[in-house]
Amino acid sequence: MMDLVRRMLFLPEEGSAWAGEVDKLHAFVITTTMLGAFGVAVVALAFFVKYRRRSDTDLTPHVAPTALAEVLFIGVPLGLFLLWFAIGFTQFVHLRTPPRDAMDIYVQGKKWMWKFAYPGGPNGADVLRVPAHRPVRLLLTSQDVIHSFFIPTMRFKMDVLPGRYTEAWFEATKLGRFPIFCAEFCGLGHSAMLGELEVMEPAAFDAWLAETRRATVAQAQDMGGGAIDIKGSLVEQGQRLAAEYGCLKCHSVDGSRHIGPTWLDLYRKTEKLKDGATVVADEGYLTESMMDPRARIVDGYEPVMPTFQGRIPGPEIAAIVEFIKSLRTDAVRPEPSKGPVYVPVPGYDPARHP
């Protein structure tokens, strides 16, 4: 039944359970709308016929609405509208609240392509691979203008903004390959900014991820570093970038206090801020601290960090965040503190970096 309705409405396949819920609301709204419109049309038609004009100077009785009519005119549509809204808003909140165990994939839009960075894995362009039946959270940012990441089969869309992250999640249930569009006008190549979503069996996905990870590490070793797209794991890449950008001049990775807070165990830590508020150091806060370091300063530290807004491309931010996330006490070998690490990078000029 739902499938028939879906076809009548020209809706694409439902790639997730959530898409099915949205389609049910869609069908409900369209049905009531059509019934309402049909009702108005039938009433109007009946009036045309019954009260057609006899002479151009007909007199007509003065009819005024009763209180009941007015209450019905307002109450019935309002009740319906609010019901739709209640359902729709609940679904929206669901879309915007990723579960804790969601796998993070970083998405970067630039004119006119999509780049994806997988956890501890490689970067890819234009094809987004996700495992079925596992929640996937997308963290999206843009390198230039506003784009919008649109997967019709998932009924999923999120704007991709320069200089900040947006997030939303989905859990694919249907295997296959589905189109990805850019929905926010971004210039000449707007309609060519296409991508593809490939939903894989979880086992196949894991195998693919491990395989590509190995391949990219090998490739990176062959190339001796090289361009961003062919780096090793995100964490390793983040470690190298943190050094390049000079992060480690002020942030230690072993728990010792320096100019800035240590990165060890920073992820998901509840930090007390200067103004007394607290913040959980999640991806959002870490990213914000790079883009706009003075926005929320941790108590006990000075606002001396420069902004990296526009200086670090999105996937590199993602890599640094992944690096910070990897720094957990149980993951660091116990050894005496060496203080902050100074890693000079020969030939690196941040001003020339895009």
Binding site: V22, A37, R52
Partner: protein, 560 residues
């Protein structure tokens, strides 16, 4: 008051009569038109200007539709296509839809309906024409020298970094905004100060109520758009960085400021249309408006709540969930006011005396488009559905249903309803109905496929598209051709009727609206030497009309 020397008999319904000495011919020559402060002549000038703009915007629209006839490139490059849809939007919105009904019919009929001899500030009224011309000239200059490729929404940072000439078009839109502000201001003051004795607030024609609501939006929302567009222009030309993320600016702030105007602007476009059809439905059903107060106050309600719903354009922008919820609920309330109007218009037909003439055909079209456009609007405000539809053809179809379906139907209804009053001659009724049917069918054929395209997930502003969207795009283009054909028929028969149409007489529709009291075309001072006397409301058909609409001897200046 000031009786002019024109001796115009007040209307008698029995004898069709062409008022030989009228506002059109009392003075002649181009100069008399360029310097006129007569609200009727200004209305006619606007009529010519907005029809020119409609034609220009229509050409752009047809070019866009032809380009979309095939999935790949058809007749133009992507850059040209991007310019075409931008110019289509800019011309249709700023040059046609915002001024169309308020500045043509509002100027012409609002003072007459209020028993006034002009608007409050006649020379400011003329100024708006010149501001319109100046803004249009600057925008056209920008279009010829490069054009803009940003879409009419001018989203930053794209609009501040594009290579095309955005600044002149932004400046043009700013000046057109000033024109709009002054018009709105003029209408508000006119309604407050120039109602004739006997026309109380609750005896104002519903047309006046809706134009009043529109004017409030024009005055309060347009300045914010003005400053926003200026900031984009400054940023585009000088790089001040106010919205530039690389300099700490916030592109979402632009979207908030832009939609703070541009959402109410939707009501600037559709409220006047509601104004027109409220008159038309009463006249052609010969019936008092069912729920006059409900319709009148819902206009103000729309004007008020319309200011607080702009955030529903930003559901997928990453704004907080709480914001989305608040804006979603408020959007529902705008829907309610519209629903109230729809029910009341329909109920007005009850026990009426319905004549299915051309303006009434457009009323039916309007009702259909408003119900569908409005309902899809409500569907879009149920946040989760918007996630799929945002920036797809569904949204395009939705706002064309409301803005074009709604505004265009209202404009055409008004044009046909008031044509005999404005020019004293009738158009051919048969051709009128034929073109109305063509246009309504063409509209549906154009935009219903676009709803389905949106459901399929085709994003808007696409130059090329995957093959599965092809059939529906062909259908849409075919519908657009039908639509264009309907407009051409209207243009032809209206132009012919100007000279050769049968004389209409003062009140060919037997309407009790106040504007039909005077002669057709009206004399320069609207009523001749005698002031009409208003002893009843504007939409009352339950008593015999006095054989000759009452006139009073010229009065001494009266107190209000």
């Amino acid at each position: 008051m000031s009786p002019s020397q024109a001796t115009t008999p007040l209307a008698t319904p029995e004898a069709p009569l062409y008022n030989e000495r009228n506002y059109l011919n009392e003075k002649s020559g181009v100069w008399s038109w360029l310097t006129t402060v007569d609200h009727k002549r200004i209305g006619v000038m606007y009529l010519v200007l907005v029809i020119g703009a409609l034609f220009l915007g229509g050409v752009f629209a047809m070019l866009v539709r032809i380009e979309l006839l095939t999935p790949g490139p058809t007749i133009m490059s992507a850059m040209t296509y991007n310019r075409m849809f931008t110019l289509h939007g800019v011309v249709m919105i700023f040059l046609f839809m915002i001024p169309a009904i308020p500045n043509v019919f509002g100027n012409f009929f609002l003072p007459i309906m209020l028993g006034a001899r002009d608007v409050a500030f006649p020379r400011l009224n003329l100024l708006t024409v010149y501001l319109y011309l100046l803004g249009a000239a600057i925008a056209l200059w920008g279009m010829i020298h490069g054009g803009a490729d940003t879409g009419w929404t001018f989203y930053v940072p794209y609009s501040t970094t594009t290579v095309t000439k955005v600044a002149p078009i932004l400046l043009g839109a700013f000046i057109l905004g000033m024109s709009s502000i002054v018009s709105g201001l003029n209408f508000i003051v006119t309604v407050h100060t120039l109602r004739a004795p006997g026309i109380t607030w609750l005896r104002m024609p519903l047309f006046v109520w809706s134009i009043y609501g529109t004017a409030i939006i024009q005055v309060l929302a347009t300045p914010v758009l003005g400053i926003t567009l200026l900031l984009v222009a400054v940023e585009n030309v000088f790089g001040f960085g106010v919205f530039d993320p690389a300099r700490g600016g916030d592109p979402i702030l632009f979207q908030h400021m832009f939609w703070f105007y541009s959402h109410p602007a939707v009501y600037i476009m559709v409220l006047p249309s509601m104004a027109v059809v409220s008159e038309v439905v009463c006249a052609f059903a010969r019936k008092n408006m069912f729920g006059y107060k409900a319709v009148a106050f819902s206009s103000l309600g729309i004007a008020f709540v319309g200011f607080f719903t702009w955030g529903h354009h930003l559901f997928t922008s990453g704004q907080s969930t709480v914001n989305a919820g608040i804006f979603g609920v408020l959007s529902m309330f705008v829907g309610i006011f519209t629903a109230i109007k729809v029910f009341n218009w329909t109920a007005t037909l009850y026990k009426g005396s319905v004549a299915f003439k051309t303006p009434f055909a457009y009323f039916c079209g309007f009702l259909f488009f408003l119900v569908f456009g409005g309902m899809t609007g409500i569907a879009l405000a149920t946040v989760a559905l918007d996630v799929h539809w945002q920036d797809t053809y569904f949204v395009v179809a939705h706002f064309h249903f409301i803005m074009v379906g709604g505004t265009m139907m209202g404009f055409l209804a008004g044009l046909h309803y008031w044509w005999p009053k404005m020019f004293g001659r009738m158009y051919p009724e048969g051709w009128g109905l034929v073109s109305a049917v063509l246009i309504i069918l063409g509209f549906n054929a154009t935009f219903i496929p676009q709803f389905l395209l949106g459901n399929m997930g085709m994003p808007r502003r696409y130059y090329s598209y995957p093959a599965e969207f092809w059939p529906l795009n062909v259908a849409s283009t075919a519908g657009a051709s039908l639509l264009a054909f309907g407009f051409i028929i209207i243009l032809i028969y209206l132009l012919i009727s100007l000279k050769h149409g049968p004389v209409a007489g003062p009140n060919p529709w037997f309407s009790r609206g106040f504007e039909w009291i005077t002669a057709s075309p009206p004399p320069t001072d609207n009523f001749g030497p005698r002031n009409p006397v208003y002893t009843h409301g504007p939409h009352e058909y339950d008593k015999e009309a006095s054989p000759v609409p009452a006139g009073s001897p010229p009065e001494a200046p009266h107190a209000h």
